[in-house]
């Protein structure tokens, strides 16, 4: 994984080195999350002692997060559409965001690309890019909201996910749909969101084939969920009743991540 391997650079570029160093300073602090980041921090500073056992606090907060998943599932209205915007309001340039830097964007070969489909589906054949492109497409201009707080408006085009799921004969009574990506990212979503009319298997951005930095050849775009729930470079889709977790979710981000 990119955090532990040191890139071999023959010529050192000053800016790049500083940027890399800053990124690494930020990343390990995320890694420490499960070990110590949920200390009572400032609260224990205020009292001058650790007032609560850390493991039990982490456990309790995780439980509340699972409870919040349930509340969000209950609040989710399958007919409630996210607002759409005129193309003049598109954020340019649309920000790049991933768990790695933009210089590490994965290049996926269009010719050899196959989308694997597995789990509780009738048709498990792998899809080529031309096959996906031949499906009926639609597009939408919606707001992408990041868990960090910022938001940006973009235009995504592709195949409504509900129609794709019905095409592959997915069992829509299943609880989860999981995604595995070419950049080693993975995540999973609930079935009601998967069937939401604005959930798109995105093949294009702003009228152009989806560029690598936005997830070539395909990303799942859900304006009803936060950015980290929208996987890029999707290679495999599976329908399951076993909780698949996710890259950030396993570290503590809320699983439902709805908006």
């Amino acid at each position: 994984m990119s955090l532990t391997k040191f890139p071999r650079r023959l010529a050192l570029d000053g800016d790049a080195v500083v940027k890399e160093a800053l990124r690494r300073l930020e990343q390990p602090s995320r890694r420490l999350f499960l070990q110590r980041s949920l200390t009572l921090g400032g609260l224990s500073l205020l009292t001058g002692c650790a007032i609560v056992d850390e493991d039990s606090v982490e456990h309790a907060l995780m439980k509340v997060s699972r409870f919040n998943d349930k509340v969000q599932g209950w609040l989710f209205d399958p007919n409630q559409l996210a607002p759409t915007y005129p193309e003049s309001m598109i954020t340019r340039p649309f920000p790049f965001n991933a768990y790695y830097g933009e210089d590490e964007v994965r290049q996926v070969d269009a010719g050899s690309y196959r989308l694997e489909v597995s789990g509780m589906v009738a048709d498990k054949h792998a899809w080529t890019l031309p096959e996906l492109q031949a499906l009926p497409q639609t597009d939408q201009v919606t707001r992408h909201i990041c868990v960090e707080g910022w938001s940006a408006i973009g235009k995504w085009g592709g195949v409504p996910f509900a129609s794709f799921l019905s095409r592959i004969g997915a069992d829509t009574s299943a609880k989860y749909i999981g995604f595995k990506c070419a950049d080693d990212y993975y995540t999973s979503i609930d079935m009601p969101t998967a069937l939401h009319p604005q959930t798109l298997l995105t093949l294009s951005y702003d009228g152009q084939p989806l560029p690598p930095r936005y997830g070539f050849p395909m990303k799942l775009r859900m304006p009803t969920k936060l950015g980290y729930k929208n996987p890029k470079h999707i290679q495999a889709i599976f329908v399951t009743n076993t909780y698949p977790g996710g890259y950030w979710e396993d570290q503590g981000y809320n699983w439902f991540g709805g908006s």
Partner: protein
């Protein structure tokens, strides 16, 4: 007032006050860490006074304490309205009375002899922070669920405006707490009354 043994503050008020204080401290400190992930303005909050360690941890704290704030706030409002305390303690209230009491306070002539009686500045401040907390909850709901609460989202001017509303409502709450702590330090009997009731 020496032979008056009635509690100055009823138990439900003291309980909801301290639970609210706990919720506010957790929400503010974790909220500052969340703010740092994508600062709205040209500054960040010192990491030492934030809670959660990283964005994911801060969000867990924030979205746990929000239930405490909301549930406790609801109990407070129901008791306050239901017992008639809200109407009795906070009204009447006029701008003229607020200005008069504020001037008296600045001259050091505002009496705190009877802690049962809220002067006009106290009434205004406590009502303000009550409304501010409601605004924090509503703008927070828009940030959490901007798609699911379309009416609330539009009332608050959309997602990005709601972010700013949430921030400034937080700043107002923190300013209130700062003044509130100074006043409690100046009139320690008020702090004792909020703990033991007398």
């Amino acid at each position: 007032m020496s032979d008056d043994t009635r509690a100055i503050h009823p138990v439900w008020l003291r309980a909801t006050h301290w639970l609210n204080a706990l919720a506010v401290v957790i929400l503010a400190m974790s909220g500052w860490r969340i703010y740092n992930a994508s600062p709205l303005f040209d500054f960040t909050i010192a990491k030492g006074i934030t809670l959660g360690g990283w964005l994911g941890g801060a969000i867990q704290w924030h979205f746990a304490a929000m239930w405490l704030l909301a549930a406790n706030g609801l109990v407070y409002l129901l008791c306050n309205v239901g017992t008639g305390r809200l109407a009795r303690k906070f009204f009447p209230l006029s701008p003229r009375a607020i200005v008069a009491d504020l001037l008296a306070a600045l001259r050091g002539r505002l009496s705190h002899a009877d802690l049962r009686h809220y002067n006009a500045v106290q009434r205004a401040a406590y009502l303000f922070v009550l409304v501010d907390a409601v605004l924090l909850v509503l703008s927070g709901l828009v940030l959490w669920k901007s798609v699911q609460f379309p009416l609330l989202r539009e009332l608050l001017g959309g997602y990005e405006t709601a972010r700013r509303v949430h921030f400034f409502a937080m700043a107002a709450l923190v300013a209130f707490v700062a003044v509130h702590l100074v006043m409690a330090a100046l009139v320690p009997r008020a702090l004792l009354a909020m703990i033991r009731g007398r």
